[in-house]
């Protein structure tokens, strides 16, 4: 592509080449990237207007007057080189890439392109080439490890699984902490739409899944409220500005790009298992036991046993049930795009497909994207532009969660259970299993499915006009709408619904935005030279609609007929709709003094439909300063290229969710997974409706919540801009949180909505970029980023020390906010300790003394995260690596507890006959303690280490990872000369190739609850995967 573009420049430039007299110098201009030569590089004689450009092979020829002449070689994106001619007739030049230029322009709020130097806040830009063709269909995952201040974690390796992203920590107790996503100016829903109980249900994806990575030109991450203030309330958790590829840079040419990639996915399996003991408990065989505490293989009398079905079966090791369950996944991605035009008149058409088969049987993800867009400056001067994208995607996943699901059972397979050889269904389809009413994992994957079918359209229409060279008025309308037709199938025999259940679930979202943008600029303001100003006035009208209608048919009659007409009872059906509107007015004034001092003042007033009418308008300001002392004091040297100091203060308000103001009634229901009723009751042939007060008390005094942020930092550019260090500190205070505070249940209600609480985030971000080596045809670029965030809940409500985060959680294992702790700690039962911190042992049993409920047992937030990316280029080869580390933070894991307390994991089989002693002390009753010396059997010992609702289920989630490895080869131009291809490349890439997790037997990057505020819980979810494959790209 670049080549095509350059050929064009070449032709134009040649026309202006001035022919001079004296002698001729020839040579070739190359770079490490393009050793075959850079076409279109310009060569001029210093101090004259004389010059030429290189031809397609990078060769040039120029006449110079004498020996004292100096030739200036320059090309966009490269550092300018000056060479004294001397007596030479041949001068070959290797241009060095200019690292500074590459990071100069960023996209800020409202899609305004700005010079990074002028920003008093932090925007990090990620180019499309590190996102596309990376063995990864989810855009967010490709950003993992690449951006300071950003914490990204995917829920699992299941196809289409959701990915959580938080920029600069958690700032809201219950609001969304996911950043606002803006795609080409379109506010883009990244909702996960959990319409099911996330503990038992299947996990839908986050809707940024609907963007094909191939279509992305760049991603700009707006960190902190100062950067995102113009987007208002919605962006108080930061914003991610995605710009898709367009035809605007084509210089009139047309380019067709074809991409294709194929990847394999391997599950990252669980820890190794013991091979000596089979099903049972206390050394006895028990056919329904989920544990492997049975007799040792080969014990006389246990050559055969009677299974749950009454059959005599061999009692022996069946070693590989994980291998028999998981399969190799595949990921095929293809795309075609046609782009054409100039900055004023262009279009793009692209089609992309993704077809994935998961590592769990029956699961998959298919996505098809069609995009068309363009811009045109009409003859009367009006700029019009627009784009429209249609996405169709389908995700199929199974059930997950503790107990009755494929993933809940796979960690409870006794070592003597013939996983692959035992029939798991009868001729009618009904489940056969060793431990009914649970079912064989393969029965579950076939008969418990969840499909999500997305049809999505999003687009924008922009019309603008320059009334004067200093005044532009633009109106932009954007729309994003999708329906997700979901179907949950639990066939007759499913343990979650023994009589079968079908859910036809329709999720609809739509968001409309109208933005009026008036921009003005004036140079030499007040007749001060170099004092420039520009100002933006804007208005935003926003409407968001949501609807979820669900028909749930329970009590099925015919096995395998997955239609709700097959059901008897529909009382779980429901409808939830919401509409919210917001009107915002905003202004931003940018002042620039002599290109070394920049001041930005912003303010926004929002008026929201979700707040009480008398208190629904709120204002928030931001001020940002950027100062470049090296320019002011002329401090540049060979070492020091530039210093920029940045500082900002900002405050962003956030409105409530709809319908929180009043107390309401709802259809009555009682119970949980042990027993449940839902009104209307069907009693004696009649349907009896029932309503009761909701558990929440509304508040007519609700006010917006606020986030206030301070940030200071500096960017040091060294060694001719070859090294750049960006360090900053931020402090964010969240106040007036809109929260459902838990109240005494005997008040008749469980919680009340109110404004309370305070939370602080303090963080350090650092990014070090360097062009480490640049030698001939070899370059090595490196980028290291580091993030350390300390989050603390300062207060909740008066007298409230902790409160559960809204969402689904098990009783006794509550993801919570707790005063003095980071957001999202897990409150559960903790083993008691003495003052010295030693574990107390119950002298009667040798087990731990009875646990103390209501204690903080786990903190999911990491101490620090870091990423190191390296790019090595040699001739046509590019090798890129990405390591990342997530150090500290804890993970709560059901699966690992199952494997340990069930006697499945390898170390439980070592010296099993030997009694053990738990670490701890016994209270002597007189304030002294003696070491525990009570011997207990291995089964008791490993059981005592912790059941599901205990600190024993908490593991260190530290992980160091080779996140990505990619090798790319650009076919040399010489090979392509006689082909229709302008450019062609082939590459291999792999993700998650290696990891080291010292405290966890598997990959700790899992979270069964998916994207959202509840993190750090592995409640029997799918594992992570390793991806590797090949990719191709060529242009016509």
């Amino acid at each position: 592509m670049k080549k095509v573009l350059l050929c064009l420049v070449l032709t134009i430039m040649t026309a202006y080449t001035v022919m001079a007299q004296s002698r001729t110098i020839t040579g070739q201009v190359t770079s490490s990237d393009e050793p075959e030569g850079i076409p279109g590089a310009s060569i001029s004689i210093k101090g004259t207007t004389t010059g030429t450009v290189t031809d397609i092979d990078g060769r040039y020829s120029i006449n110079v007057p004498g020996e004292s002449g100096v030739l200036v070689f320059s090309f966009v994106g490269f550092e300018t080189e000056e060479i004294t001619v001397g007596n030479r007739t041949t001068i070959d030049v290797v241009l060095r890439q200019d690292v500074r230029v590459l990071s100069e322009v960023v996209v800020t709020a409202q899609n305004i392109e700005r010079n990074e130097k002028s920003l008093g806040y932090t925007v990090q830009s990620v180019k499309g080439d590190v996102i596309s063709q990376r063995s990864e269909p989810n855009v967010l995952n490709t950003l993992q490890g690449r951006v300071a201040g950003v914490n990204i974690g995917s829920a699992s390796g299941s196809p289409g699984a959701s990915t959580n992203i938080n920029i600069r920590g958690i700032t809201s107790f219950t609001g969304s902490n996911q950043p606002l996503i803006v795609v080409d100016g379109i506010i883009f829903s990244n909702n996960t739409d959990n319409t099911q109980n996330t503990l038992f249900g299947s996990q839908p994806g986050n809707r940024l899944n609907d963007i094909a990575p191939e279509t992305i030109e760049s991603i700009n991450i707006l960190k902190g409220p100062a950067a995102s203030v113009l987007y208002g309330s919605r962006a108080s958790a930061g914003a991610i500005i995605i710009t898709t590829k367009s035809g605007s840079g084509m210089e009139g040419k047309t380019e067709v790009t074809i991409t294709s990639s194929f990847n394999m996915q391997d599950p990252i399996n669980y820890a190794p298992l013991q091979n000596n003991y089979g099903q049972g408990t206390t050394n006895n065989f028990v056919p329904t036991a989920t544990t492997s505490w049975g007799p040792r293989f080969g014990t006389p009398g246990f050559n055969t046993v009677t299974n749950t079905q009454g059959e005599t079966v061999p009692y022996q090791l069946y070693p590989n049930h994980f291998d028999l369950f998981f399969q190799q996944g595949t990921l095929l991605q293809n795309g075609v795009s046609i782009a054409s035009g100039t900055a004023d008149d262009n279009f793009i058409l692209s089609i992309n497909s993704t077809n994935q088969e998961g590592i769990i049987p029956e699961t998959g993800f298919d996505r098809y994207n069609v995009q068309i867009g363009g811009n045109k400056k009409l003859q009367n001067g009006i700029d019009v532009g627009g784009s429209m994208t249609y996405v169709k995607s389908k995700q199929r996943s199974g059930t997950a969660g503790n107990g009755g699901s494929a993933m809940g059972q796979i960690t409870r397979i006794p070592r003597s259970y013939d996983f692959g050889g035992t029939p798991f269904r009868n001729e009618l389809g009904a489940p056969i299993y060793y431990n009914p009413p649970n079912t064989h994992p393969l029965w579950s994957t076939q008969n418990e499915t969840f499909d999500s079918n997305i049809d999505r359209m999003f687009g924008n229409l922009t019309i603008g006009y320059d009334f004067a060279d200093w005044l532009n008025v633009t109106y932009r309308v954007t729309a994003d709408t999708y329906t997700d037709r979901r179907k949950q199938i639990l066939r007759i025999g499913a343990s979650r619904s023994p009589q079968g259940s079908l859910g036809d679930d329709m999720v609809f979202r739509s968001e409309l935005n109208g933005d009026l943008l008036i921009s003005m600029n004036k140079n030499d303001l007040f007749f001060v030279e170099g004092f420039n100003a520009n100002m933006l006035l804007g208005q935003n009208i926003n409407q968001r609609d949501f609807q979820n209608t669900r028909v749930v048919g329970d009590g099925l009659n015919i096995f395998g007929f997955d239609n709700v007409s097959n059901a008897d009872v529909f009382t779980n059906s429901l409808e939830t709709s919401s509409r919210r509107r917001l009107i915002g007015h905003y202004a931003q004034l940018n002042l620039d003094y002599k290109d070394y001092l920049f001041l930005e003042l912003s303010g926004r007033v929002d008026q929201s439909s979700t707040l009480p009418a008398n208190n629904n308008t709120y204002f928030y300001p931001s001020v940002a300063l950027s100062f470049v002392p090296t320019d002011l004091f002329d401090l540049q040297s060979d070492i020091l290229s530039q210093i920029k100091i940045k500082a900002n203060a900002a405050r962003v308000g956030r409105d409530a969710d709809p319908y929180l103001l009043t107390s309401l009634f709802s259809q009555a229901s009682y119970g949980n997974n042990l027993a449940q009723i839902n009104f209307p009751l069907s009693v004696g042939g009649a349907s009896v409706p029932g309503f009761f007060p909701q558990n929440r008390i509304g508040s007519m005094d609700l006010a917006p919540e606020f986030v206030t942020n301070y940030e200071v930092g500096a960017v040091f550019s060294l060694f001719d801009y070859r090294v750049e260090l960006d360090v900053l500190y931020f402090n964010t205070l969240s106040t007036n949180q809109i929260f459902d505070v838990a109240i005494s249940p005997s008040s008749g209600f469980d919680n009340r909505t109110t404004n309370i609480g305070e939370m602080v985030n303090q963080g350090i971000e650092a990014t070090l970029r360097a062009l480490v080596v640049e030698s001939g045809q070899f370059t090595w670029e490196s980028e290291l980023n580091f993030t350390r965030i300390r989050n603390e809940v300062k207060s909740i409500a008066e007298g409230v020390e902790n409160s559960t985060i809204p969402g689904n959680s098990f009783l006794g294992i509550a993801p919570s906010i707790a005063v003095g702790y980071p957001y999202g700690v897990i409150i559960s039962t903790k083993n008691p300790r003495n003052d010295a911190g030693e574990l107390l042992i119950n002298p009667a049993t040798g087990g731990f003394a009875p646990g103390v409920p209501g204690q903080v047992i786990a903190n999911q937030q990491p101490d620090w995260i870091a990423g190191l990316s390296n790019t090595f280029r040699y001739r046509n080869f590019t090798l890129s690596t990405l390591f990342d580390a997530r150090v500290g933070g804890e993970l709560y894991s059901f699966g690992q507890v199952d494997l340990r307390s069930g006697g499945h994991i390898d170390y439980t089989g070592v010296d099993r006959h030997m009694p053990r002693i738990l670490p701890g002390v016994i209270d002597n009753g007189d304030g002294t303690y003696r070491p525990n010396n009570i011997q207990i059997p291995a089964q008791t010992y490993f059981g005592s280490l912790g059941g599901l609702a205990s600190e024993g289920a908490v593991f260190d989630a530290t992980v160091y990872r080779l996140r990505e490895l990619a090798l790319n080869y650009n076919l040399p131009a010489s090979l392509l000369n006689n082909t229709p291809f302008g450019q062609a490349s082939i590459g291999v890439s792999a993700r998650n190739l290696l990891f080291f997790a010292p405290g966890f037997p598997a990959d700790p990057e899992v979270n069964t609850q998916g994207a959202g505020n509840i993190q750090g819980m592995d409640l029997s979810g799918p594992p992570q995967v390793r991806n590797y494959g090949v990719n191709l790209r060529f242009t016509l």
Partner: protein, 480 residues
């Protein structure tokens, strides 16, 4: 061109100026802001039925050796383990946030429209539901409860205040009597099929109210015998209590998925159904009495009873489909019913009162009437019952000392309350009858059988008026 821009600007300004309407869209389309008595009553009744028939029942049945725990919480109850993590759903979503707040709302809504009958039922059921809570937990929020935003951390009333009144606290007796007075008054609208207990039969509701007075008096009969005597005598002289099986205060669920009694779901459907079975001790008790109700009460899928002893920690009998469980007498085909108050219960209360308090009537007559009522409810014909009486005279006559006779009454009452663990545990704590041996492998706080439920952790965390009281501390009416 400028014209176009002007149009856009005008449109934008118009939108902005009319924004008061534009933003006035915050009324929920998903949930009603007000409702009528006929939808509140069934929701509230179902909550009380759930409270009686779900986890509290499993605990009561297991702790009184009717059922035995095979796994999970019933296995913990079986060795006397009980703490603040238990009964969280019951306290919160079945009792206070479920039925009680709905009765309270029903009282308000029906008062506004002048429906005294709905008010009366709401008061009677409210009193009954509060009695479940205080009998399990002792002192509880009562006079200050259910006030929502007005009082988000209510103080507790003592169990003595709740039963006897005083200090501005209306007693449960007075609450029921107020409800009975409402039922006597003219009412604008009356319940019908929405009354899932009596189908709108207000006469039966009066009987139920009076029977609850008997039950409350019976509950406090050892700690406050005079008050109990006085209340029972008043009910006897009013002679309008449940005296016939057809008048039993039963809540009936349905037989379809999502409408079925929790005990049915737990026994037959849920993944946790293999956590509990019938206790060998209960089996032995009925076999020892040649009781003809045994095959009606207890299932024997393989033709013989498969049970375990309480606290048993060995290998469970296999397959679990062979286990003896609650029969259709308890579960129905999903309907239950949940028997809040029965004819047998009132007869046994009157028998015990006549014996212990000297209230009018012959203890043996009531005692035998109680057994007959229970056997008839189980489906035995009067011929079969007569035959049992003839063959087992010692079982059905009060021919011993006062204590022996008391034990006989309470043991027969215990059998007749099969499926209602709540009342079985209440009676056992109050009287110590029937005599129950300690369970195997007992742990608990100090190895003794729990005598109260521990306040749920949520109240301890959210309301400083609560403090932890361990399950080995007796409630007020449990004097020994």
């Amino acid at each position: 061109m400028k014209k176009i821009i002007n149009y856009i600007l005008t449109g934008v300004l118009l939108a902005a100026t009319s924004c008061s309407d534009f933003l006035d869209i915050n009324d929920s389309p998903n949930a009603p802001a007000s409702v009528t008595p006929n939808v509140l009553l069934p929701a509230a009744l179902a909550g009380t039925a759930f409270a009686n028939n779900n986890e509290l029942n499993r605990f009561g049945s297991t702790i009184t050796s009717v059922t035995a725990g095979a796994a999970n919480s019933p296995a913990a109850y079986d060795i006397y383990n009980l703490d603040g993590a238990n009964f969280n759903n019951q306290w919160r979503f079945e009792i206070y946030n479920g039925s009680l707040i709905t009765y309270k709302t029903l009282m308000g809504v029906s008062e506004e429209i002048g429906s005294r009958s709905y008010q009366g039922i709401a008061k009677i059921m409210s009193a009954y539901t509060f009695s479940i809570a205080t009998d399990y937990w002792g002192d509880i929020p009562y006079s200050q409860a259910l006030q929502g935003e007005e009082n988000t951390a209510p103080e507790l009333d003592t169990q003595e205040q709740i039963y006897l009144g005083g200090d501005g606290v209306q007693s449960l007796f007075d609450l029921v009597k107020e409800g009975l007075a409402d039922l006597e008054s003219a009412s604008t609208i009356n319940p019908g099929s929405d009354d899932l207990i009596y189908g709108g039969d207000l006469d039966n509701w009066k009987k139920a109210g009076n029977s609850l007075l008997l039950k409350f008096a019976n509950t406090i009969s050892r700690v406050a015998p005079e008050r109990a005597t006085q209340e029972i005598q008043a009910v006897i002289s009013g002679n309008n209590f449940i005296a016939n099986n057809s008048e039993n205060m039963n809540f009936t669920f349905g037989s379809a998925v999502g409408s079925r009694a929790p005990v049915y779901e737990y026994t037959n459907v849920t993944a946790f159904r293999n956590d509990m079975m019938i206790s060998t001790r209960f089996l032995n008790l009925l076999q020892g009495k040649n009781d003809p109700r045994l095959p009606i009460f207890v299932t024997a899928p393989t033709g013989s009873y498969v049970t375990i002893d309480n606290g048993f920690r060995g290998a469970l009998p296999t397959p679990n489909t062979s286990w003896s469980r609650f029969s259709e007498y308890v579960t129905g085909d999903g309907e239950g019913p949940v028997r809040f108050m029965t004819n047998a219960q009132t007869q046994f209360i009157l028998a015990e009162s006549a014996l212990m308090l000297g209230t009018p009537g012959d203890p043996e007559e009531y005692f035998q009437a109680g057994i007959r009522a229970s056997m008839a409810l189980a489906g035995l014909s009067s011929t079969e019952i007569d035959a049992y009486f003839a063959a087992n005279p010692d079982e059905v006559t009060l021919n011993g000392s006062e204590d022996e006779n008391h034990e006989k009454i309470m043991t027969q009452k215990y059998i007749s309350l099969y499926g209602n663990g709540v009342e079985q545990w209440n009676d056992y704590r109050r009287t110590g009858y029937p005599v129950l041996a300690d369970h195997q492998n007992a742990v608990g706080v100090d190895g003794t059988r729990p005598v109260r439920a521990q306040y749920v952790n949520e109240e301890i965390a959210r309301n400083t008026n609560f403090e932890v009281i361990l399950p080995n501390v007796r409630v007020w009416w449990d004097i020994d």
